[in-house]
């Protein structure tokens, strides 16, 4: 007998049993479809470059690469390296601006 006979039921069956998309997922879809997510990303990127945040992160990465040797570094290493520092060092003004924009979007999305 073929192995395919014993495979698990297709996901459609599972979804019908009440697995609703979360609020988060709905909003995410709306963000992407409206193009707002893209705009917000670009805005955040620009602000972070302007305030020198990106340069700080790049410097951290360079120092790590120099220490470990360029052939021993993975993207994962760098992500884990920058994430805590990166999250903590976003300037308050930048964060406030972005949060404001997001809130406006949420309200306009009429949820």
């Amino acid at each position: 007998m073929k192995h395919s006979v014993n495979r698990p039921p297709t996901p459609d069956a599972a979804e019908d049993q009440g697995k609703e998309p979360t609020l988060q997922e709905i909003i995410n879809v709306k963000l992407i479809e409206s193009g707002e997510k893209e705009r917000l990303m670009e805005l955040l990127r620009e602000r972070l470059i302007d305030c020198g945040w990106k340069d700080e992160m790049k410097a951290l990465c360079r120092a790590h690469v120099k220490k470990k040797g360029r052939n021993n570094v993975t993207v994962d290493d760098l992500v884990h390296l920058i994430t805590p520092k990166g999250r903590a060092s976003v300037p308050d003004s930048v964060k406030a601006e972005l949060l404001q924009r997001i809130r406006m979007f949420l309200m306009s999305a009429a949820l």
Partner: protein, 179 residues
């Protein structure tokens, strides 16, 4: 806008902001990773290269077998140029007007201007015609041994020179000697 909604909104906004930030962090990390792997960060390369070269240079200095090599003619200076041991640029002697190689200039000037008998006689010879008569008697007999010894000295060095020619015949030949 009621209370709970506000909180929800705030929480949601923070969450969305966190998502955006994480994406950007991954982008930055990926970019740095790419630069590191492709060796595009010139500073990193230069420092590694310099450290390697300085280690090499230090090894070369410490190595005793190298000291003999550096004393031969083909020493290389910091610009990578080699110079011949006798300077070869040619100048005109301001005293006698001959073309002299720079490396042979000092000995030439000694003969030409100062210390030798020949030089002193040469000066007196060129100053007046009367004095010429007295000096001409002596040159032929007394010059030969003198010039022979110097010529052998010169030739034993093995370096070719313009000034050496004047002594090869054993006589002190000069244009104004032939009268």
């Amino acid at each position: 806008m009621s209370g709970p909604n506000e909180d929800n909104n705030t929480q949601l906004s923070s969450h969305i902001f966190g998502d955006l930030l994480d994406s950007i962090i991954v982008d930055v990390a990926s970019e740095c990773h790419r630069i590191a792997k492709l060796g595009l960060d010139r500073n990193l390369e230069e420092e590694e290269e310099e450290m390697r070269l300085s280690a090499q240079a230090r090894a070369r200095v410490a190595d005793p077998s190298n000291s003999s090599e550096t004393n031969t003619k083909y020493v290389v200076d910091i610009f990578g140029q080699t110079h011949p041991s006798v300077a070869t640029e040619i100048f005109e002697c301001m005293n006698c007007g001959r073309s002299i190689a720079a490396g042979r200039f000092a000995p030439h000037l000694e003969k030409c201007m100062g210390k030798g008998r020949k030089a002193r006689l040469k000066v007196t010879r060129s100053s007046t015609a009367a004095q010429n008569r007295y000096s001409r008697g002596s040159p032929v007999s007394t010059y030969s041994p003198y010039s022979n010894s110097t010529s052998t000295n010169r030739l034993s060095n093995g370096t070719p020179s313009v000034a050496g020619e004047e002594y090869s015949n054993g006589t002190y030949e000069e244009p104004w000697n032939k009268t």
